[in-house]
C-alpha cells in the first residue's frame, strides 16, 4: 500500500463493514449505560457529535464485535475528543469472550496509538496480513489522551472487504416445476 493511498480516506475496494456486523452479538464491557456502544457504531448515531460511547468505572473499554461472515480488515477509524478520546487501542482477531483480566495474556493482532489526526477521522491502516480471516474483532481501549477518568469515543468505523463466502440469506429454495 502506497503512502498516497493510505493518506486518502479509503482504498478503492474497501467497504464500510457496518453491514456485516452481527448486532445481536455485540458486547462492550465497562460502558456507561446511558452512553453505549451503539452510539459509536450505528449509522447516524456515530455521526452525531453529541452521542458518544463512554466508559464507566474507569477509562478502559473492551468491545467485542462479531461479524455475520468472514471479513478481511484493512483499516479502522476511531474519532473522539482531543482530551478524552482513546489513545492506545489494541485489536484482537477471533478471540471470544475476553475480559479485562486476560487482555495481557496473549499479544494483540495489532496495536494503534491514536494521534489527534486519527481522532479527527484519519483512518489507521492495520497490519492487513493479520486480519485476513476475521470472524470477530475485540477492541481494547487501554487509555485515553489525557488520562482522564472517562474515555469518550464518538465513532468507530471498520473498513475492509469480504471473503467470498456463501451468503446464507441469499440461498433460496428452487421451486419444483
Amino acid at each position: 500500500m502506497s503512502a498516497a493511498e493510505s493518506a486518502t480516506s479509503i482504498q478503492k475496494n474497501q467497504v464500510d463493514l457496518l453491514d456485516f456486523i452481527d448486532w445481536s452479538g455485540l458486547e462492550c464491557l465497562n460502558q456507561s449505560s446511558s452512553h453505549s456502544l451503539s452510539n459509536a457504531l450505528k449509522q447516524g448515531y456515530r455521526e452525531d457529535e453529541g452521542l458518544n460511547l463512554e466508559s464507566d468505572a474507569d477509562e478502559q473499554l473492551l468491545i467485542y464485535i462479531p461479524f455475520t461472515q468472514v471479513i478481511k480488515l484493512h483499516s479502522i477509524v476511531v474519532t473522539g475528543s482531543e482530551e478524552e478520546g482513546p489513545k492506545t487501542v489494541k485489536l484482537f482477531a477471533n478471540r471470544e469472550h475476553m475480559g479485562f483480566s486476560n487482555v495481557s495474556d496473549f499479544p494483540p493482532s495489532d496495536t494503534a496509538v491514536l494521534s489527534p489526526d486519527n481522532l479527527k477521522g484519519k483512518p489507521v491502516v492495520l497490519k492487513y496480513v493479520k486480519f485476513q480471516n476475521v470472524r470477530s474483532l475485540t477492541i481494547f481501549i487501554e487509555d485515553n489522551q489525557s488520562s482522564s477518568e472517562i474515555t469518550k469515543v464518538q465513532k468507530i468505523a471498520l473498513y475492509g472487504s469480504t471473503v467470498e463466502t456463501t451468503d446464507m440469506k441469499g440461498l433460496k429454495k428452487i421451486e419444483d416445476h
Binding site: 464491557l29 465497562n30 449505560s33 468505572a57
Partner: protein
C-alpha cells in the same frame, strides 16, 4: 428468565452461632441459601449456582457453578462454623469462579450473606465494587446477623459502586420472628428484578406466609395467562357442576315447594355464569341479596332439614331462584336456550304432578304455589289439571 451464573458467598464465621434468628443464624442462612438456589434454577433451567465459604481457615469454594441442585444443597450440609469472614477475598474469588463458568453467555451474579462485622475499609470495598462493575458482575448483599456501627454504610457504599442499572440489590434483615427466607422472598433477590422468578416467589409466598398475591387465583395473569385462564375456566365448571347438583338435589328435595322451579333457574343461572364469566364475588352478592328478599317475602318452607352442604345451598338457592324466576319471566333478559327445554318438561303435566305429590310439605292449594305455577309459560291448563289431580291425592 435471565440466563445467569450465580456464586453464593456463605458466612460461616463464629458469629453465626448466635441464636437471635431462630434456630440460629447459620440455620436461617442455610435455609435462605437453599431457597435462592431453588429460585434460580427454577427461573431458568440453564442457570448455574455455586457456593463458597468466606470464613474458616480461608475462602473455600465448595461448588463451582453447576445446575445440579442436589450437589449444591449437599454442600451446605455439615458445614463447620469458625474463624472470621473475609468479605473482600470472598467476593474476588467468587468473581474468579464466575469468570471460568462453562457457558460464557450467562450473566454473572454474586450473592453475599454478610452476617458478621466487616473488617475492611469502605475505600477497599468501593474498589472491589468498581472492579465488579467493570466486568459486568451484579452483586446482591444480604445484611443480617451482627449489627455493627458502619456496617450498613459500608455495604451501601459497596452496592453503589457495583450497581449498574439496578442489577444489584441490598437487603437489610434485622432479627425478628420472621425467618430470613420469608423476608427474602419478597425482595428483588428472589424476584430477579420483577420478572421470571416472581412466579416461584408467589407460590412460595402463598405457601409460607399465607398468600400475598393480589390476583384472583394466586397466579399473575401477566406472567402465566394460560394457567390463570385454566383456573378461571375450572372455577366456572365447578360452579356449573354445583348448580347442576343443586338442581338435582332440588328435584328430589322432600321439603321444597319450589323444587320444579329450581330447574329452569339453575339452568339460566348456569347460562348466566358461563356466558358472563364473572368471578365468584358478584355472584355471591346476588345470592345474598336474593336470600334477603326471599326472607323478607316470608316464603314458607325456606329451611331444608338436611345438613348436607349441597342441600342447604340448594334450599337457599330455591328461594332466590323462585324470585329470580319471577323476575326473569317478567323481563326475559336472563333466559337462554336451556330453559326452553326445561319449560317443555314443565309443560309435561304428569311430571309436574308427580313432582308436587312427592313434596310432602307442599300444599298445592297454597296461594303462593298457585301463583308461581300460573306464572310459568303455558301452565294454566296444567295447573287446573294438577288441582284436579291433587284433590283426590289430598284425600289420601
Amino acid at each position: 428468565m435471565v440466563l445467569e451464573a450465580t456464586m453464593i458467598c456463605v458466612d460461616n464465621s463464629e458469629w453465626m452461632r448466635n441464636g437471635d434468628y431462630s434456630p440460629s443464624r447459620f440455620q436461617v442462612q442455610a435455609d435462605a441459601v437453599s431457597l435462592v438456589c431453588g429460585a434460580k434454577t427454577q427461573s431458568n433451567p440453564e442457570n448455574t449456582v455455586g457456593i463458597l465459604t468466606m470464613a474458616g481457615k480461608g475462602v473455600r469454594v465448595l461448588a463451582t457453578p453447576t445446575s445440579d441442585l442436589g450437589k449444591i444443597l449437599s454442600c451446605m450440609h455439615g458445614l463447620e462454623m469458625g474463624g472470621e469472614m473475609n468479605l473482600a477475598a470472598g467476593i474476588l474469588i467468587a468473581q474468579l469462579a464466575l469468570k471460568h463458568r462453562q457457558n460464557k453467555n450467562q450473566q454473572q451474579r454474586i450473592i453475599v450473606f454478610a452476617g458478621s462485622p466487616i473488617k475492611h475499609e469502605k475505600k477497599a470495598l468501593e474498589i472491589i465494587g468498581k472492579k465488579l462493575k467493570k466486568n459486568s458482575v451484579a452483586l446482591d448483599i444480604v445484611d443480617f446477623g451482627e449489627e455493627e456501627d458502619g456496617k450498613p454504610e459500608k455495604l451501601e457504599a459497596l452496592l453503589a459502586s457495583v450497581n449498574n442499572n439496578d442489577a444489584s440489590h441490598i437487603v437489610h434483615v434485622p432479627p425478628s420472628q420472621n425467618a430470613l427466607s420469608d423476608v427474602l422472598i419478597s425482595t428483588p433477590v428472589f424476584t430477579g428484578d420483577g420478572e421470571g422468578g416472581s412466579g416461584f416467589a408467589a407460590t412460595t409466598a402463598a405457601a409460607a406466609a399465607g398468600g400475598v398475591s393480589d390476583f384472583d387465583f394466586g397466579v399473575d395473569p401477566n406472567i402465566d395467562p394460560e394457567l390463570a385462564l385454566a383456573l378461571r375456566v375450572s372455577m366456572e365448571e365447578e360452579r356449573a357442576r354445583q348448580e347442576a347438583a343443586a338442581k338435582k338435589a332440588a328435584e328430589e328435595a322432600s321439603s321444597q315447594e319450589k323444587g320444579e322451579d329450581a330447574q329452569p333457574q339453575s339452568d339460566s343461572q348456569n347460562a348466566t355464569s358461563t356466558a358472563t364469566e364473572k368471578v365468584s364475588d358478584p355472584m355471591d352478592e346476588d345470592d345474598l341479596l336474593k336470600e334477603a328478599l326471599a326472607l323478607s317475602m316470608n316464603i314458607p318452607g325456606s329451611d331444608s332439614s338436611a345438613g348436607d352442604a349441597q342441600m342447604s345451598e340448594a334450599s337457599n338457592d330455591d328461594q332466590e331462584l323462585a324470585l329470580a324466576l319471577q323476575m326473569s319471566m317478567q323481563d326475559g333478559s336472563k333466559e337462554s336456550s336451556a330453559p326452553s327445554d326445561v319449560s317443555k318438561v314443565l309443560g309435561d303435566q304428569s311430571f309436574m304432578s308427580s313432582i308436587i305429590s312427592s313434596l310432602p310439605g307442599v300444599d298445592p292449594n297454597d296461594p303462593n304455589v298457585k301463583n308461581l305455577l300460573a306464572s310459568l309459560p303455558g301452565q294454566s291448563e296444567s295447573q287446573q289439571k294438577k288441582d284436579e289431580d291433587e284433590k283426590p291425592k289430598d284425600e289420601k
